[in-house]
């Protein structure tokens, strides 16, 4: 789940907060809202398989009605994403509408539209925060996943934000096998631009399923990341991504809870409400904001959400001594790798997930597929040369003509210049 660093007042309470949250809240603490499936990039690990706009996406008026509802429900802020949300022509209109209605906005962007003018505007609004995505501390590592030129775009956006006086925006990194050795370098980049580093987990969701085997951290890297996170504590945000790592011993800062349907959810560009941003699949679809009752009706009335708010069975994990801290890990990670939901996470630090992955049947063709795919139909292949295409000009072979007869008058009859 995604949340901000939180403090708990030390008044005597009957239970730990995390136990209370398992039963759900009257409204989400924060909510991810993907405004469009359109994106200028084609990141190989895109959670939402974004690329092309969907013609059914919410209109400006429908989006404003959602904001009105969020204000009534006292949802403090939304995490806006996509796709690339800033390519929606009404993006700034919606952002202004939200902040005017006491719904704070934090949006994720690859930086393509963060010009000096936009940066100045962002720096001037306390209710606005921005998250720049970067998945490598060097251009080669980043562009391998996010596409050629995307490193430079993100760095330019961060420079514009710093120069405009924007403080403490977020540098958002998905941790992969290639960038785990770069954590110190990411921290240096964040410090250089006055940003706060935010690390999240690579999930096998959307197109992420296609590259997960190749990109997810090795067991040794998971340990390295855990130690790094413990050493940096509250100064690095994680959106509670890594609670499965708590099974190494000490719990990481944060709630350490799967918030799906309990304290978080996702509204996708066509108004579908899913339990979490990593679970775009019919199995986790709670409803649509276009149905009577709107978003509040889905949050309060969905049968799926009601089930998620009941105590979950630990299944095979119940007997593990770390179950109380890791809670069996991430539901979406299990689902899209074909593991049972009441068992270990595929990246279980005790190695139980790896054993289950190895024991799966088949070639992976039976794995659940996301219910939406808006990927660009053609993506520029990385490293392919551009420029003139060599073509050899030849005469058309006239093999379809009848054989030359004795009566043919042409002096070239029967001549084939091969």
């Amino acid at each position: 789940m995604t949340t901000v660093p939180a403090t708990v007042t030390p008044t005597p309470g009957p239970a730990r907060l995390v136990d209370l949250f398992e039963y759900g809240l009257d409204a989400p603490i924060c909510l991810t809202w993907e405004l469009t499936y359109a994106c200028n990039l084609s990141c190989t690990h895109c959670l939402s398989s974004s690329g092309r706009r969907d013609p059914r996406e919410l209109t400006t008026d429908e989006a404003k009605a959602v904001i009105d509802e969020l204000e009534r429900m006292q949802v403090f802020y939304v995490n806006i994403g996509g796709g690339e949300p800033t390519v929606r022509p009404d993006f700034w209109e919606l952002v202004d509408y939200a902040t005017a209605h006491h719904v704070g906005v934090k949006f994720s962007t690859n930086g393509v539209r963060i010009t000096p003018e936009v940066a100045t505007r962002l720096a001037g609004n306390d209710y606005l925060d921005v998250q720049i995505s970067l998945d490598g501390a060097t251009a080669d590592v980043n562009d391998h996943v996010r596409g050629a030129g995307s490193y430079d775009t993100a760095i330019r956006a961060m420079a514009n934000l710093r120069d405009a006086g924007m403080k403490n925006f977020k540098l958002s990194v998905v941790c992969t096998r290639h960038n785990i050795p770069q954590m110190d370098a990411f921290k240096e980049i964040a410090d250089r631009y006055g940003a706060q580093l935010r690390l999240t987990r690579l999930r096998p969701s959307g197109r992420g399923a296609d590259v997960w085997d190749e990109l997810h951290p090795t067991a040794a890297q998971q340990r390295e990341l855990y130690d790094w996170l413990l050493a940096h504590g509250d100064s690095v945000l994680t959106g509670d991504s890594f609670f499965h790592l708590s099974a190494y011993g000490e719990a990481l800062p944060g709630l350490n809870l799967c918030g799906a349907g309990r304290v978080v959810c996702l509204i996708d560009p066509v108004g579908d409400v899913y339990a979490c941003p990593f679970a775009i699949h019919d199995e986790f679809l709670a409803g649509n904001i276009r149905q009577p009752g709107g978003f509040a009706g889905v949050w309060g009335g969905s049968e799926l959400f009601r089930r998620l708010r009941e105590p979950q069975s630990g299944g095979a994990c119940t007997s593990c001594q770390f179950f109380d801290t890791c809670k069996g890990g991430c539901m979406a990670a299990k689902f899209f790798t074909g593991l049972p939901l009441d068992g270990p996470d595929p990246e279980c630090v005790q190695g139980y997930g790896e054993q289950l992955l190895a024991a799966r049947d088949g070639d992976g063709s039976a794995l659940p597929k996301p219910s939406q795919d808006h990927s660009h139909r053609t993506a520029p292949a990385a490293g392919r040369r551009t420029g003139p295409v060599p073509v050899t000009l030849t005469r058309r072979r006239e093999a379809d003509r009848p054989p030359v007869s004795a009566c043919a008058e042409s002096p070239l009859a029967g001549y084939r210049p091969d």
Partner: protein
Amino acid sequence: MDIDRAWDLHPQVSVRPEPFGALLYHFGTRKLSFLKDRRLLAVVQGLADAPTVRAACSAAGIPEAEAPRYGRALATLAASSMVVERTSV
């Protein structure tokens, strides 16, 4: 925290009651806090209309002897600027 002085919620803080207590969100620091006690929520909500924290506790039906304990909880909120001392009226 001096519970005989006047305190207020920070103007950039929103309060959302929940069955277990309440959520507080500070738009300036972008930090979230949780109140695990509905009576503490009543105290927080009553600060603006009370001349002192002690008076806010009493208005929320908290026995005099427990007021210091609620004062300590408010001090935690003060440390993250969720509540601030009211300097002038």
